[in-house]
């Protein structure tokens, strides 16, 4: 193999690929990036057997060839090279990286053992703007369960509903749902994307401009745009019927500035106990909304916030982390907290923003 290509394009592609390599001790070649030089481009591949990534970098190919190189080393190395226009790669049993001022060799692994990336057929293809898909995932994915006991909960559920794409995730203590109006929604399948793959999918798709092509099969989902291809396993299961637990009628409502809430939750962090507990007291009768955090060994704090309140008085305890998590997903300046009664989930939404819904269960201590 003998090629020359633009340094920052290669660096970018390697950075993406490196994140997806596997740490599989059984098969060391998985920690490599697979590089194939062929007809005017370099093809990069990486996989951890859960996600598969493939990307092309335009290159001047003098001799075709294939290598499998440890991804971490190559990626860090190329990223740290002084900025130059181009970089040359040559390989025999090792890979030589030649720039204007430096020459280095990196040991390769036998590339024959490098697995293929499942290529999904183009029969079931949908298209949608990449940024819509990314913002949908970002708005909900932190709510997925980290535990692997229930695979359907440690995933993000994506499905179409009329003219919107719905993204939902829950770990059974809180739940986030985001609806995004989008174009080109033909019959999009209902799909469960594993939570641990979502971060990588977001990172890769963030680079896409315009639309991304989405393909489905029963066990895989794949995204393709400008020479990049990413495929992930999907979870075989059914997401719970969560709509029915969203309360429809509320007893107490509070509307306050998002920024105020974020600030006071930050203070609560300092004072809260090992359970991250904050007590919320809403008293429309006294026009008072306050947050209290207590820690036996440190002290306690009560913050009063300006809020528009209505309904009956209410008190509830929450894990402040669960509340703080959702605020980044709310675009509006004001948020509304709606209480349906004791031991029922509280509903958090952006004011005049129907697209995002967040549910948190109160703590019962």
């Amino acid at each position: 193999m003998k090629v020359e290509c633009v340094q920052n394009k290669l660096s970018e592609a390697l950075y993406q690929a490196e994140k997806i390599t596997g740490k599989n001790l059984n098969l060391p070649v998985l920690s490599c990036v697979y590089i194939e030089a062929k007809k005017g481009h370099l093809l990069l591949r990486a996989t951890n057997l859960d996600l598969g990534f493939q990307s092309t970098v335009p290159a001047k190919v003098d001799a075709e060839g294939i290598v499998a190189v440890p991804a971490g080393a190559l990626s860090t190395f190329i990223a740290n090279l002084p900025r130059e226009k181009s970089v040359k790669l040559e390989s025999s049993s090792t890979l030589s990286v030649i720039t204007h001022k430096s020459r280095s060799t990196i040991k390769c692994l036998p590339h024959e053992d490098f697995p293929t990336i499942p290529e999904l057929p183009k029969t079931e293809v949908r298209e949608m703007p990449a940024k819509d898909f990314v913002s949908g995932l970002k708005a909900v994915w932190y709510s997925s369960s980290i535990s692997s006991i229930k695979p359907e909960l440690s995933s993000v559920c994506v499905y179409p509903e009329e003219h919107e794409m719905v993204f939902a995730a829950t770990d059974s203590f809180r739940l986030a749902e985001k609806k995004i109006k989008t174009k080109g929604l033909k019959e999009f399948e209902r799909v469960l994307i594993p939570f641990k793959n979502v971060a990588e999918i977001i990172r890769v798709l963030e680079r896409a401009e315009g639309v991304v092509e989405i393909r489905f099969s029963k066990h895989q989902i794949a995204f393709a745009f400008d020479g990049t291809y990413l495929t992930s396993r999907v979870v075989d299961g059914t997401f719970p019927d969560y709509r029915q637990i969203i309360p429809k009628e509320f007893k107490t409502e509070a509307v306050l500035l998002k920024e105020d809430l974020i600030q006071s939750l930050k203070i609560s962090t300092i004072f809260s106990d090992a359970f991250n507990q904050v007590s919320m007291s809403i008293a429309p009768s006294a026009k008072r909304f306050s947050l209290t955090a207590k820690n036996a060994s440190l002290g306690e704090n009560t913050t009063t916030l300006d809020a528009a309140l209505s309904g009956a008085d209410a008190e509830a305890n929450f894990n402040f982390r669960y509340i703080a998590d959702c605020l980044q997903a709310i675009g509006a300046d004001s948020v509304s907290l709606s209480f349906a009664g004791p031991s029922r989930p509280v509903v958090i939404r952006g004011v005049s923003d129907k697209s995002f819904t967040y549910l948190v269960m109160p703590m019962n201590r």
Partner: protein, 448 residues
């Protein structure tokens, strides 16, 4: 050699042929799922493994398989769902850390893709003398979908287990043959779907969607009566599925010939396959059903109680189940097994009282059914269109309400009791020859 042993031996051969790293990565979570007519189905954990085994190791695996099992013709890789990780203590810990009760999330009751309720299976279906024919037909259908009886038409009164049986067909086919698209739909849903698709100008999408199913199960098709456009759509769908040998299963509460306003071309098509009836369960079957359900509820109920239930509540299995639930709930509440006396007291109100119906009401129902004047039945006329209804009134009064022969005669215009006896005998004899008459009587009974 069973599948497990065979695969173990295959793996030994493969381990010698490939490197350790590759063996551990690709063959660790594989096993033989099943063998069918020389085709071995190997279960693999994911698409990566499927592609890689097929591209790289297909020949080696095939060779090893042939060495050990000569009849092997082909090899298929099937991705199977990973088993959930060992039950960890984590949920309890998670809940403790979160300090919050969980959201009351519930699974979807039915599978979104095929509308089937996984609860309905053949295993939970109790077979008795009353439904063994229907059960046998269903078994034949699942063994050879599209070939044995196509369409299969099951009819019977409400609560006799039609839905259970046809959903069991769907669940069985779905679980046995991966890749078969099974779809369960009620006739009402089908109608709504059709109307919506026409309104949205997407009738073509509707056709396409239904035609791609391999097995279509349609429940309660008596509701198609009077819906001409939907019937026509069903007719075309039926033809296209039938031609491509796709299994169709219908259920209804009546024989197709007695569904009013159903197009003749549909009736004749339903008759082309197999039409089976699930009649009212007999006492023994009711007892068997109760025993099975009682076992599932994990509450012990005395046999004499079950027998009492089976005797007092007749006919409808759904009512039996409801009554059983009441008993289970009560005995859990009281924390002890219920005695027969208590049970009798409990079901006193729930058991359907024998309806007291006056002669006049029966006469009225029959007259309206045959569209004749009520007075004609009481009069001494021997016109043909009146004689039969009159005999039916006598028969129903005698059979269903045990009214004495002389009383029936007296009430129906002062007739001799021998006339009444003759009429009842005549209907009884005719019933043996003429199934349509039985249907008519059943329909009249529902009017009472």
């Amino acid at each position: 050699m069973d599948n497990e042993q065979l695969w173990k031996n295959v793996l030994v051969e493969i381990e010698l042929a490939v490197s350790k790293a590759n063996f551990n990565t690709w063959f660790k979570d594989t096993r033989i799922l099943k063998q069918e007519e020389g085709v071995v189905f190997v279960s693999v954990p994911n698409t990566f493994a499927k592609d890689w085994l097929f591209n790289k190791y297909h020949k080696i695996i095939m060779k090893a398989l042939r060495n050990l099992a000569e009849h092997t013709r082909a090899l298929e890789y099937v991705i199977t769902k990973e088993e959930p990780k060992q039950k960890e203590l984590e949920p309890a810990r998670g809940a403790f850390l979160a300090g919050a009760p969980e959201l009351p999330l519930q699974d979807f009751y039915v599978d979104k893709d095929n509308n089937l309720n996984p609860r309905y299976t053949f295993e939970s279906f109790v077979v008795g003398p009353f439904n063994e024919l229907a059960h046998a037909a269903a078994q034949a259908v699942v063994k050879k979908p599209g070939a044995a009886y196509n369409p299969l038409f099951i009819y019977g009164n409400t609560g006799h287990g039609k839905t259970h049986l046809i959903q069991a067909i769907g669940n069985y086919i779905k679980n046995q043959t991966a890749g078969k698209k099974v779809f369960y739909v009620t006739s009402e849903k089908f109608t709504i779907d059709y109307v919506n698709s026409v309104q949205a100008n997407k009738a073509n999408l509707f056709k396409e969607r239904y035609r791609k199913y391999d097995v279509l199960i349609m429940d309660d098709i008596q509701f198609f009566s009077n819906k001409e456009q939907t019937q026509e759509e069903l007719f075309h769908l039926f033809n296209s599925m039938y031609e491509s040998n796709k299994q169709i299963v219908f259920s209804s509460d009546k024989h197709p010939n007695f569904i009013p306003n159903l197009a003749d071309r549909l009736k004749s098509r339903f008759a082309a396959g197999m039409i089976v009836d699930i009649p009212t369960p007999d006492r023994e079957s009711r007892l068997a059903i109760l025993k099975t359900k009682a076992r599932l509820s994990a509450v012990s109920i005395a046999d004499e109680v079950l027998e009492h239930l089976a005797t007092t509540i007749d006919g409808n299995i759904r009512e039996l189940e409801g009554m059983l639930n009441v008993l289970v709930c009560q005995s859990q509440l009281k924390g002890k097994e219920l005695g027969l006396g208590e049970v009798k007291h409990l079901i006193k109100n729930s058991a359907k009282p024998k309806k007291a119906v006056s002669v006049k009401e029966v006469t009225k129902a029959v007259a309206s059914f045959f569209n004749i004047e009520e007075e004609d039945i009481y009069e001494k006329t021997r016109r043909k269109e009146v004689v039969k209804p009159r005999q039916l009134v006598m028969y129903i009064l005698r059979e269903d309400f045990s009214v004495s022969y002389p009383l029936i005669g007296q009430k129906l215009g002062g007739r001799d009791h021998t006339t009444v006896i003759h009429s009842c005998e005549k209907i009884k004899n005719e019933l043996k020859l003429n199934a349509a008459l039985g249907q008519e009587i059943d329909q009249i009974r529902t009017l009472l």
